[in-house]
Subunit: 309 residues, 2 copies
């Protein structure tokens, strides 16, 4: 079984949407990535940090999904990273109400021995120096390194971000961030610029408008599934990344052709994530539901046009 190493936050979130609000619940990029990737036959581990205020129940939830949590450091008398956000009526934009870095401020990631030769590395959104710190601990060259980031690091750690990008095969990023990073409005041009920074593959996430995969001249597009209700978009991008990297780790095939399938698997899993608050929907998600919706994705996008008229 291939190995997937996941790096990212394991956190407490407090979320408010037009449909309700939560107290502190399970959150964090690595959490969503891990839950999503657990739908594939891979041996996965999370590298992260929490405080000793973090619920054992949540750690068990991850272990029970066969995720190795030995790389999640628990800091004594430390407080877990906390994020609080308020989504606007269209759910496309949000305000961050509170961010408490807590134990994340001094996080020094330690990759478990058994995962230093992982096949796929999924670097979730974190300070680029932490992402570099993980790559430096690997003992063999992985098949694929995927990196997710956000505008925050472009604003305050652009040079470090550019350093880690040189060592990355796939960058996943949203449309506005792709524009900011490249200085180009056209996403086709933005991807071209980002290719020159290192990543041979650029995935541009457009939320409800789907995702684009660029590999030089090749392009693939996957829509988001049109949904009647979107309840809470938190974690959708990370769930996408988890499906994408989990599928590729399982298959061990990182061709452009297979990456198309990975994009569909990621979009498919993300379509569930937004149906309930936080990780709730992903916790209850069954294989049959996943497969049925994959079929819906096929119906949604596949056509059989004849070129001869």
């Amino acid at each position: 079984m291939n190995k997937l190493l996941i790096v990212g936050t394991v956190a407490y979130d407090a979320i408010e949407t037009p449909f309700g609000k939560t107290d502190k619940i399970l959150g964090g990029a690595a959490t969503y990535i891990g839950l999503s990737a657990s739908h594939f036959n891979v041996k996965s581990a999370i590298v992260s940090v929490v405080g000793d205020d973090f619920s054992q129940e949540y750690l068990d939830l991850l272990s029970n999904r066969n995720i190795d949590i030995s790389g999640i450091e628990i800091v004594k008398e430390g407080k877990t990273f906390f994020w609080s956000g308020l989504y606007h009526n269209d759910l496309n934009s949000r305000d961050t109400l509170d961010t408490q870095l807590n134990v994340l401020a001094d996080f020094n990631p330690i990759v478990p021995e058994d995962f230093k030769d992982s096949d796929v590395i999924m670097l979730g959104n974190l300070h680029p120096n932490i992402q570099i710190g993980v790559l430096d601990q690997l003992t063999s060259k992985p098949k694929l390194v995927v990196l997710d980031t956000m505008n925050f690091w472009m604003d305050c750690a652009l040079e470090e971000l550019k350093q880690v990008l040189k060592r990355v095969d796939v960058l996943t990023i949203n449309d506005e961030e792709a524009r900011q990073l490249s200085g180009e409005y056209s996403l086709v041009k933005a991807a071209e610029i980002i290719h020159t920074m290192g990543p041979k593959f650029v995935v541009i996430k457009k939320g409800e408008h789907g995702a684009l995969l660029f590999n030089n001249e090749q392009v693939f597009f996957a829509p988001a599934l049109p949904l009647k209700e979107v309840f809470d978009p938190t974690g959708a991008g990370d769930t996408f990344a988890g499906g994408f990297s989990g599928y590729l780790a399982q298959q061990g095939n990182v061709s452009f052709h297979n990456m198309k399938n990975a994009i569909i698997h990621g979009s498919n899993l993300a379509s569930f994530c937004v149906e309930k608050f936080g990780t709730q929907r992903m916790e209850s998600l069954e294989k049959e539901e996943v497969n049925a919706r994959l079929q819906q994705f096929k119906m949604l996008t596949q056509f059989d046009i004849e070129l001869a008229q």
Copy 2:
């Protein structure tokens, strides 16, 4: 050969985008629809009105595309409908600088005898009463009636619009307009509401984010082709409608399955329209270019996922 009847404006446009500006050039919904539909083997006619200030060269351009223009009334001493718009930097929004209805104010459409039994009717964006006036002149039930409209008519002629919608098979509309017409933010719910107003098929155009086709429980999505440069979005929606209705008229098959192909043909033709100012690109467009880009659409969207993992 099947018949396609096109109703809409034939106009003068003056356009300004971040890339330049034009004097009065050829424009109008029926013009773009007609040029686009001329890529299919159909017998088409335009019903419209212009003033005698309208350039013979432009009328010849349409005739030379085998479009029957006997239904374009030329009003003596009348002035042609004029629209002027300024696109913002992202090309996704625009300001209307000037609208002169001129001869359109008293337009009384007359359907040519030979087109009263058309197979497909494409009702371009116009006052709903004019659209009804055309349907009233038909002598046999068409295979398909497609209607395009905009928020302007929802604001000032909603009851008339609702009347014509009852007689329509397909409504093409953009996302904001679908929300306005239905009162629902979710496009899935919006399509459900619009189904109850008459149209069995609802096409929601999302510009650079592609187009959705709804038919009760069935959904299909086509992306817009990611382009390096968008020069002028004017007429893209009408070009889409022309490709959609032209293909369906040619095929004479109005099943959901075939409508998927029509959506792809419409999106494909619209991707050319935006590459130059006004109708310029559509005037020079060759069959080989159209077919090559259809192949790109296949590459962009088709995947071959195995459900067994």
